[in-house]
Amino acid sequence: MSFEIPDELRFLESHEWVRKEDGTARVGISDFAQDELGDIVFVEFPDEGDEIAHDEEFGVVESIKAVSDLYSPVSGTVTATNDALLDAPELVNDDPYGEGWMLEVDLDDPDELDDLLDAETYRDQIE
């Protein structure tokens, strides 16, 4: 099976992605991760204003069959959460890079992204 891995994203080995958008960044989980988890039924993430840190837990995603911790690819302040996932967590399955996004973060250090996996390296990791 081949998974969608958009070239403009950066990834953590634990399958979270980050997309930089002018000083803030969006965070979610990859197409591969949502497929591995199966039907997602619950997503738990921090509140707006909370601080999160690179490589540290920021939440939990649960599918019918498994529970998985979420790790933050970046450090910064949460400026928005995708509250649509509270009622429709399946959006993560349907559109992991679009409507299934999880957080927007005001980055402490935009250079931190350079240390993450690029799309090609992440593709090599999961194949």
């Binding site: 039924v41 019918i64 069959k65 509270l86």
Partner: protein, 366 residues
């Protein structure tokens, strides 16, 4: 030790199934998605390869007595072609396993067949033969787990689906009563077809010669389903899972605690009867209950159940987000005073107490 494989391991692999270890077997857990498979069974039909379930036949003049003394229900009440649910208990009345016992149609050489859970077949074979010898009974016990595949076809359309693929059933499958079994021919194979199942839906279970499993499996054009959907379906139906909702070593329970007292006939003599008569007299201290979470979260096996003050009162044995009800549901044991449906409890989900309320099982009335 190498895992045991069902006869259709390669067929499932080619179909894209993911597998998991269960009771010493490598079994399909998911073909497409648990939700898709679950919904197929609730709305139309799905087929499950449950060849990991054991098959043990018991024959001979004392077959009924041997089964009667080792299981909690009244085997002597079974007519040919009828089945019953029963528990297997030790002298303390603690559940070793649960099972369905069939008194086979008269066409069969063997008199009885019973179905131990995955990984329990050898233990049950040993138990049966040891007690037979100790009691000097004349019965032949054969573990035929590797001779028979077992499939479950379940859902509102399941019986029609099997009936249209079968010919020469001794009794028309559509007329077969619940917990009844008959000989049927499917895809030229001689099968035992029983109106039993583990999903809360109507349907049939088929016991099929191992070597003919593929032809029978392919005779039903419906959604293949794995153990993942089997688990969400059986939780909605409030059915116990051996090794999880009771476990002789990890979570010892008697049938009255496990809410399956209906499978215990104290008018028969069986191993554990006297201990269970005492429990029936005094009532169990704890009871198996269903509950529904009233706040977001998913209850899982092993999570603590607390009272509304946060004091631990029990443990979740099974839980899931119900695909049919779209609510988080679970089951577990609580002190009897909390067993009344509607009692306020809480479940500690990753340290956070989530409000919950007990409710009567099954979650889903069909």
């Amino acid at each position: 030790m190498a895992l045991r494989e069902p006869p259709l391991a390669e067929v499932h692999d080619a179909r894209g199934a993911t597998t998991t270890e269960f009771g010493g077997w490598d079994m399909p857990v998911e073909f497409d998605s648990i939700r898709t498979e679950h919904e197929s069974v609730r709305e139309s039909a799905g087929k499950f390869d449950v060849s990991h379930m054991g098959e043990i036949t018991v024959s001979g003049p004392d077959a009924a007595e041997l089964l009667g003394r080792l299981t909690t229900n009244d085997v002597s009440a079974l007519a040919h072609g009828k089945a019953q649910y029963a528990m297997i208990t030790d002298t303390e009345g603690t559940i070793l396993d649960d099972t369905v016992i069939y008194r086979l149609p008269e066409t069969h050489d063997a008199n009885f067949l019973f179905i131990p859970n995955a990984g329990h077949d050898e233990e049950m074979e040993d138990r049966w033969t040891a007690h037979r010898d100790e009691w000097g009974l004349d019965a032949t016990v054969e573990n035929r787990t590797d001779a028979y595949a077992m499939f479950a076809v379940q859902g509102p359309d399941a019986v029609d689906l099997v009936a249209s693929a079968a010919d020469d059933a001794d009794e028309p499958l559509a007329d077969l009563g619940r917990f009844s079994a008959t000989d049927a021919t499917v895809a030229d194979s001689d099968c035992l077809a029983a109106r039993t199942g583990y999903t809360g839906e109507d349907g049939l279970e088929l016991i099929v010669p191992w070597s003919e499993a593929e032809a029978v499996w392919e005779a039903f054009d419906c959604q293949p389903c794995g153990l993942g959907a089997r688990d969400t379906l059986r939780i909605e139906a409030g059915f116990l899972l051996s090794g999880q909702d009771f476990d002789h070593d990890e979570n010892p329970r008697n049938p009255f605690e496990a809410d399956v007292g209906f499978a215990v006939d104290l008018d028969t003599e069986f191993v554990g009867r006297d201990a269970l008569a005492r429990v029936a007299e005094s009532g169990p201290d704890e009871r198996f209950v269903g509950f529904e979470l009233e706040t977001r979260g998913v209850p899982r096996h092993g999570y603590e159940i607390t009272d509304s003050d946060g004091e631990t009162i029990g443990t979740v044995t099974s839980g899931t987000m119900s695909p049919t009800l779209s609510t988080p549901i679970g089951m577990g044991y609580v002190p009897t005073e909390y067993a009344e449906p509607g009692s306020e409890i809480a479940v500690r989900v990753r340290g956070e107490p989530k409000e919950a309320r007990t409710r009567a099982l099954p979650f889903l009335e069909r």
